[in-house]
């Protein structure tokens, strides 16, 4: 690949250089070409990856989604938008969307305040701060698959979690964590929270570093209580970080897959199916690749539309640097 790329890169350079008539222009041109070359080198790899692994699959999937196709043989059975209507009217898929939205809102309501609170706590001068920071960040370092396997075994009936609860005298709280259709989404949410809370905390700690100490001092001199300082000075300045966290959290919640697939396969009876697990289930377990592609496109549109609107309305101020311009 490297030889191909250098050949393709040099070709336009020599062509452009050969066409240059006067020395003065050459210098200007040369810096121009340098700039182009730089751009090409810097953008090239990313563009290749983007085209090969995002853009082309997207085009291919939208094409497949118009066919009733089991993945084998040619695409012959054109069904138009049938796959889309079939997906959107399937109660199981509607349930899956509901489960994704549950994770989205539960994350906003529980994880956001929790990670801000913990970040504020860990930002202050407390003993063993570094150790504590490391500790809360550890789960985030684990891959989702490893997390899922660990929690799957911990949550088995009569397993470690049940044992801990019983020993703490809380035996009454023991549930069929993964087998009860009414409980399973809460269990999964708890694991998601355990896994991602550390990421939020680190993000907010970084945001807190950027809150100037002078402002706190000034607030203190003006007689603000610590709570007032936090609420009226620190939190507003943390705004950009909060907005970017919300963005990442929602996109992540919409795409939730690994944990679900390993811990429950979307069961029991579809009680923990997410859009992504539904898509893999239909595509790869049932060999309905046309239908699966339609679901994939729906999931993509979901995330894409959300991302566009969020960028447009929530992140615009931050990206323009109107407030602080600190968060990139």
């Amino acid at each position: 690949m490297s030889s191909t790329s250098s050949a393709a890169v040099t070709a336009p350079v020599t062509a452009a250089a050969g066409a240059s008539p006067a020395p003065r222009v050459t210098t200007r041109r040369r810096s121009h070409i340098r700039k182009r070359l730089e751009l090409l080198l810097l953008l090239g790899p990313a563009t290749i990856l983007f085209v090969a692994f995002v853009f082309m699959p997207l085009i291919a999937a939208s094409y497949y989604s118009l066919f009733d196709w089991n993945g084998f043989g040619p695409l012959t059975d054109f069904v138009g938008l049938d796959n889309y209507t079939k997906a959107l009217t399937d109660p199981l898929f509607q349930g899956a969307i509901g489960h994704n939205l549950f994770i989205v809102f539960a994350s906003l309501l529980v994880q956001l305040p929790l990670s801000i609170a913990l970040a504020l706590l860990l930002h202050g001068r407390i003993r063993g701060r570094t150790a504590l920071r490391l500790l809360v960040f550890t789960p985030y370092v684990l891959s989702e698959a490893v997390t899922a396997v660990i929690w799957l075994s911990l949550l088995q009936p009569h397993g470690v979690i049940d044992g801990l609860l019983e020993n703490a005298g809380l035996g009454g709280l023991v549930q069929l964590w993964l087998a009860d259709q009414n409980i399973v989404m809460f269990t999964l949410f708890a694991v998601v929270t355990w896994k991602y809370i550390g990421f939020g905390i680190i993000l907010f700690l970084a945001g807190l570093q950027g809150v100037p100490e002078e402002l706190r001092e000034a607030a203190a001199i003006d007689g603000a209580t610590p709570w007032q300082t936090t609420r009226l000075v620190v939190l507003p300045l943390l705004g950009p970080t909060i907005r970017i966290w919300i963005f990442l959290s929602i996109i992540g919640s919409l795409q939730l897959f690994d944990l679900v697939w390993i811990m429950t396969l979307g069961g029991p009876a579809g009680a923990s199916t997410t859009m992504a697990s539904y898509l893999i289930d239909r595509g790869f377990r049932r060999y309905e690749f046309g239908f699966g592609s339609a679901v994939a496109i729906i999931l993509f549109v979901f995330c894409f539309v959300f991302a566009l609107f969020y960028q447009r309305f929530a992140l615009r101020r931050d990206t323009q640097g109107a407030l602080t311009g600190r968060v990139e």
């Binding site: 690949m1 191909t4 790329s5 393709a8 890169v9 070709a11 336009p12 121009h32 182009r36 751009l39 090409l40 953008l43 090239g44 563009t47 290749i48 085209v51 090969a52 089991n70 993945g71 084998f72 043989g73 799957l152 075994s153 949550l155 088995q156 009936p157 009569h158 397993g159 069929l176 964590w177 993964l178 087998a179 009860d180 259709q181 399973v184 429950t264 396969l265 069961g267 029991p268 009876a269 579809g270 009680a271 289930d281 790869f284 377990r285 049932r286 060999y287 309905e288 690749f289």
Partner: protein, 425 residues
């Protein structure tokens, strides 16, 4: 368009060219260098003893055939589901790959990549008996089995004794009785891996084998139409059976084969007394415990259902085998013939990976009395019905498993499995 934007597009074009170059580089394959043929061999023996047996077989075969190199790729069983469709839609599928025959193979044949090996195997495929029929689609041979399997109850003889059960149940009434006795002895009677869904389907499938006459059963599966009353009865049997609460706590969240908390692990570690599973389960269980299971495990066939039209000696089962793809079909078949030879069949039996070899000569070497009883049951069975999810086209088969799993989770009616199959077809 000014020069700026022309340059911009020029740069973009160059990037696109590089991209295409990089992409086209992915498709090529090194092959047939210096008169040597390289075969890619995908199997599901990711753990010993099967892993070692296949590797030894390949080494031996390569020694005898210097012009053949076999590139062995062990793949986790569940991953075949995702890897095979992708491989068969690519230009570079494996030459030899594991599959389980039936409707799954029929679906794969639609790719046009699976080789018709009828002529290449006609001299010897008959030696493998009825098992080979599961690798034929409309009379055309598309694969070669190396093992057969049947589904029945594995049980812990020690726990049965503790509960005061003297003989394995032969009817559903006796099974219910045994379940009661085990419960009052404080033992979880039956483990089932409900999370994985296919173990749930074994109950529906075997109840249907007991409720349906052979003709109704074969016709229903061939046409993917389970509207016959016997299938509804089987659905009701499943619902009634679940209502007796025979399963371990939280069975809808239990995996089938992974870890000590799986259904196989529960039986292996004496936490549950029975499991309805295929013949391979003994090997799986032994892998999940340090206790020597040979003296502790017994086996009995799915009990007779009173009033059912099915032959009580009929059973649910299937097999494991390999198929070939077009490019090196001839070399592949020669290798498969070697694999189904008495020698390797005997090794499979001796290591207890395979309970029911496809070669009678290898069966003679079975020493374990329990395995022997499984083998004899299979030999004397009125017929062996392939697992429904494998017998049906893949999408329909998975829909059936899902519908049965829903019954286990308390969702659905006696007819809902048939309805799900009709909807998916």
């Amino acid at each position: 368009m000014n020069t700026r934007s022309i340059r911009k597009y020029g740069a973009f074009g160059a990037v696109a060219i590089v991209t295409l170059g990089a992409l086209s580089g992915c498709g090529s394959s090194g092959d047939e260098a210096g008169g040597k043929t390289t075969l890619t061999f995908w199997h599901n023996g990711t753990a010993d003893p099967l892993l070692g047996i296949w590797q030894d077989a390949v080494d031996e075969y390569e020694d005898a055939h210097p012009n053949i190199t076999i590139d062995v790729v062990p793949i986790q069983n569940e991953d075949f589901q995702t890897k095979i469709p992708l491989a068969l839609s690519s230009d570079n599928p494996p030459d030899i790959y594991f599959n389980q025959g039936g409707g799954l193979l029929a679906t794969q044949v639609q790719s046009g990549q699976v080789a018709d090996i009828s002529d290449l195997t006609s001299d010897w495929i008959g030696d493998l008996g009825a098992a080979a029929g599961n690798w034929a689609v409309d009379g055309v041979q598309y694969g070669v089995p190396y093992a057969s399997q049947v589904v029945g109850f594995w049980y812990r003889t020690d726990l049965f004794e503790d509960a005061g059960i003297t003989t394995p149940p032969t009817t559903i009434t006796e099974l219910n009785d045994a379940v009661d006795k085990l419960k009052s002895a404080g033992i979880a009677p039956i483990a089932v891996g409900g999370k994985d869904r296919w173990p749930d389907a074994f109950y529906y499938n075997t109840f249907a084998v007991r409720e349906c006459g052979e003709d109704a059963l074969k016709k229903g599966l061939a046409e993917a139409d389970l509207s016959d009353e016997c299938f509804t009865k089987a659905g009701q049997d499943v619902i009634d059976f679940i209502a007796t609460e025979p399963f371990q706590d939280g069975f809808n969240g239990t995996p089938a084969q992974q870890g000590a908390g799986s259904s196989a692990g529960l039986v292996a570690n004496g936490k549950a007394a029975m499991e309805l599973q295929g013949t391979w389960d003994k090997g799986v269980m032994q892998g999940l415990t340090d206790t020597e299971l040979d003296p502790l495990l017994g086996w009995f066939p799915f009990p007779a259902v009173e009033g059912g039209a099915g032959d009580p000696t009929a059973t649910l089962g299937g097999g494991d085998g390999f198929s070939c793809t077009q490019e090196h079909a001839k070399e592949c078949v020669d290798f498969l013939k070697f694999l189904s030879g008495d020698d390797i069949q005997t090794k499979l039996v001796e290591s207890q990976v395979v309970a029911i070899p496809v070669k009678a000569a290898a069966a003679a070497t079975i020493s374990d009395p329990v395995i022997k009883s499984v083998y004899d049951f299979n030999s004397e069975a009125a017929y062996v019905q392939t697992y429904f999810d494998i017998a049906l086209p893949t999408g329909v088969g998975s829909a059936l498993n899902d519908a049965v799993a829903n019954l286990f989770a308390g969702k659905g009616t006696a007819a809902s499995v048939g309805e799900a199959v009709a909807a998916a077809n």
